[in-house]
Assembly symmetry: D2
Homo-oligomer: 359 residues x 4
């Protein structure tokens, strides 16, 4: 189990890459929000394969259909069900994988756990599962905007060894979307695109780092002890496929500082309490302090490559596996809307939870 996330804004997802489709049920969306399929489609299109020359060339139109929970254009306050049907079914595309464990995929672990696995596309470990997350994230995004104009933006900060360099406060969503690789630093973006195309040609793959900031966060989101905002964001983001690490504010680099350097001093600015630095990434003691949330997620290189690799079969024989056909040399550009979605889902949940924190 484990197909649900959230306490008050609770999503439950379902679906594999073969079969009827993938979908999400959103439980706990307040009533009265304007919501249309177009709202969802914008984010799905950002996640969609085949959207640019550097992603996988798999063709999926991924149209969102709202099945319940919206009446006369507004949410009713009850379960919102959204479905995306599967296309691009190539029934025999996976036949050669039936009895193999693909290296660094979930084939082996699913089979050890369940005694059975859906070898036609990886079952729930399929990248199509993230459609449901992005769909639900689009609803969360609308709520955050409606409530307090809270804005989450994510971008590709690093691909393989190519790092971007750009002042985070200058970044707009538009700058990110203009880049095929979703890196707002033009120079780095060009280098990344060139590199990804070369990597694809070689049948290989690369990973990278996505950075995200959240603007206009009210102070007070997050809970003491276990449901700290850092903890819940970590869980949500580390549940995305291919993630290998997360850090907040200075993160691992905070280790290089002493406390006297790292502490964020409080100052008065235009009559408001602020911190002079934001080393902590906008969260202290697990609760937002009103400053921008700032985090980074690392993604390993995609496991699917067009190389002959060593592996073993279900019966325990050493065999070779040769991926054939399409592969996604770098998931980072498409992972950007996923990262935003997960952050927005957590924020909506905590926004709702925070509402009656005082009598």
């Amino acid at each position: 189990m484990g197909d649900s996330l959230g306490r008050l804004f609770r999503i439950t997802t379902w679906g594999e890459s073969h079969g009827g489709g993938v979908g999400v049920v959103i439980d706990g969306c307040p009533s009265g929000l304007d919501l249309s399929e177009e709202d969802l489609q914008y984010e799905l299109d950002r996640r969609r394969p085949g959207q640019s020359k550097i992603t996988t060339q798999r063709k999926e139109s991924d149209k969102a259909i709202i099945l319940s929970g919206v009446f006369e254009g507004r949410t009713t306050g009850t379960a919102i069900s959204v479905m995306v049907t599967n296309e691009d079914a190539r029934p025999n595309a996976y036949d050669h994988l039936k009895d193999l464990y693909r290296p660094s995929h979930a084939d082996y672990t699913y089979e050890k756990k369940f005694g059975i696995r859906d070898w036609k596309g990886g079952g729930r470990s399929s990248a199509r599962e993230t459609i449901a997350r992005v769909t639900a994230g689009a609803v969360a995004k609308k709520l955050l905007k409606y409530w307090e104009d809270i804005q989450t933006i994510a971008w590709v900060e690093q691909i393989h060894e190519i790092k971007s360099k750009i002042e985070k406060n200058s970044i707009s969503p538009n700058m990110i979307e203009k880049s095929a690789v979703r890196c707002p630093d033009k120079k780095a973006s060009d280098a990344m695109i060139k590199h990804i195309l070369e990597v694809r040609k070689a049948g290989d793959s690369v990973g990278g780092i996505i950075r995200a900031i959240v603007r206009n966060v009210p102070a007070g989101l997050g809970e003491p002890v276990f449901d700290k905002l850092t903890a819940d964001l970590s869980k949500a983001l580390m549940s995305l496929p291919a993630t290998r690490g997360i850090e907040f504010g200075l993160g691992f680099d905070s280790v290089k500082m002493k406390g006297s350097e790292h502490n964020d001093a409080f100052v008065i600015e235009n009559g408001h309490i602020k911190t002079s630095t934001n080393h902590s990434g906008g969260i202290q003691g697990g609760i937002s302090n009103g400053d921008d949330i700032d985090l980074r997620v690392s993604f390993k290189p995609t496991a699917t490559i067009n190389f002959e690799q060593e592996t073993v079969s279900r019966s325990g024989e050493a065999v070779k596996i040769s991926a054939k056909g399409r592969h996604d040399p770098c998931v980072l550009p498409r992972a950007v809307p996923m990262v935003e979605a997960m952050i927005n889902l957590v924020l909506v949940d905590h926004y709702l939870r925070n509402h009656k924190s005082r009598i």
Copy 2:
């Protein structure tokens, strides 16, 4: 709220540094486990302040009292309640902080959230809260050992800029406990201790990195989609005070590799399926593959320092704050049992969840 963690092995913690004490209720511990206060005390002593010259000199004996759930030396299967009473109450030690926000503490965020804060020690953001975690972790440790001899060991890998270098498979709990800083690399350990003492003298603080591995993990722990083992471990560990990042296997360094280098090839070893490398840290698709779990957590330098710092008062005036008296220059040695506890709590929960994954 947010004082509970886990689905089937569920802990609920309570308590502040002033008041009656701190404690934990463990719901879901199977019946029949031998359990005594001594079992809990061993881990509490590893967490205790004042255990060595490099930790805070605060004196707390921290005796665990089992209030319920154990009958004639064995768990009954019902709620286990454990309490540790508070000592070392210095009633006036916090008076000067009443109207100030300590930089990089939770003072400001708690007050923004709740409209009130417990200024006598930080309320639930107090380090004493971790007593409850370590206590519950001791029970989890016993279960894991009983079931399949699953062993979690954590150690200090880096303090400030001092890095240790030691082959992880050679490390034993004993090697870690022999070092006051809980670093099994003797040379690095000596350097770290020396550095921490200097830092304390200067009234400053340092952070670092704790690494943990888990041995004898059965394949199949963790769930698809949201409750991946990586996700649940991230939440649990990032809920510890002062954590700033987490990574699994190669983590952020996986970004430097291509897929063809990073993939863990399956091989047959003595008739069993293994991976030739463990870049993924023992978890693939969110589910354990039977290899060692391998992760790192970074801790920022402690916020409490013996420096005069700038801050603001509750009424919004710029003021100076001068910490006085005892401070903990480096929490890492005491955080080692906390990291182990959080890992063990998550593993027990997933072990129980996994039990009926097939008919």
Copy 3:
């Protein structure tokens, strides 16, 4: 919110009577169970309107479509999504209700809660919502049969003032299904059918009592304190539309006895411990004792009647409402599979929870 039920076998339902359909996501079904759409359809057909002359004549074929979670005929251990599309949409059938509150329906309370209501069929309070429950219950039924041949059977014990009289141990599913009103007492069944037809002719409605027993329940299901089997069954059954009460064993009649009469004495029967009576309905201290579970649920008469009734409009004017067309004079026969479904869902959840109650 509140569209989910269960801790380890967790169902999430969605859908209204207009719109795309209704459905359920089942999270936590163990892998390896044979499952087909036919398995679901049998129970859906028992719930379906129009199945006999005494139910509503609404025509709905209610075909179950499995969208995910089943691979090559067996469950994969991941989310099972089932959908039933809506038919019989009579777009204008509800126009006259747009600005009225139907007496004893959820119109008024939904609008007070959400500020909006889906007046085309009652939104989530529509009887179609129970399709999702019955679908999930069919999966639960298969698991219970597979594990320990646990068998839940429910029947109509009373309609309005007509009471049946039949020894519960003699009842078979077949005897129940042979009766259009699902009462295995032939004489009472005939009287009930006659009465329901008269009531329908008069445009009125009647309620009644459904009794259920569960055979072959292992001892040990249920938890101390809050998640007692009685408590969880009560919640599940009292969440069905139109329920007004529930009782276990002798229930309200136990009040007429003294302790010396009511206590179920333990005896040895063929070397096994049994109770000589089953006044407690198979559950003691909230935990099953191995005897048959025995309970009753009362349903009020359906709110929809073909009478002119007094009510008020949204703008607060006294108006008349005249239901037109089809109405269901008695939901009890169709509620029988719903009662069985809710019991089976709770039992599967507790069966899974019980599995590691001891080390």
Copy 4:
């Protein structure tokens, strides 16, 4: 497991009748509420054994100690821990029960479930467990009063075959507390007291019915589908020891009516929408309609009697059990504050959940 209740106002209880005591952790209480031990003590004293001549003569002072979550007299918004220590330990009082299963107690079912049981007082099935519920209920009561002056009152409506007759709107808490049996109908109260004393003399026990109403409930509490207010109240109340049934409004008697008689017509009264009758007990479609909530809970006669009874031993031999000493001939008077507590706990939870039901 199952020691927690509630989603946003979540209580976790612990403790047995021997051992350190019993207690509760309240997670999710908003900050800023005035709260003292006296607030809790008033309700505990109403639950306390030995408070009148008709209850058990066990002597327990049951003093509530607040261990955390209250600072300078107000709740902090974090976990409130309250403990009541055990007294009246008669170490050998249970020795003769060590190897027996008491009829209609939880001895047998606990042992079947856990393979072990705490024979010194029944473990978690002990009536002392309800101390924790009543304590938490006292906090809930204060919140409900603070928010909207919501008032829950419960009373004994029937003992054995003696029924009271009193108009519910005329009843005040004072009228109830003046009666030793907590029945506000003076004549019935006298008869009940006389009967209970006779029953005690005979070593026997009796049960009865508690009725509860809630005044000033805002419309909109409760959720569609599974977390209906009726469903959650049923679970909470049916988790109390010795309960055998629950009904809302007309409950089982609604079966005797036709829809045309049972429906609650909407009318305008002083410009407000009301129902002319309250057959549904203030809840429609699972959501409060603003009218008084009205429910009844039945309690079986207490299992502990001073009679020689047949039972079996753990080794499967038929033996006689003779209760000795004190027993409680009727728990109903002391169950009144328990019923109120469970209702208040559910209402607070739903009040918090309802708060952001609309944008």
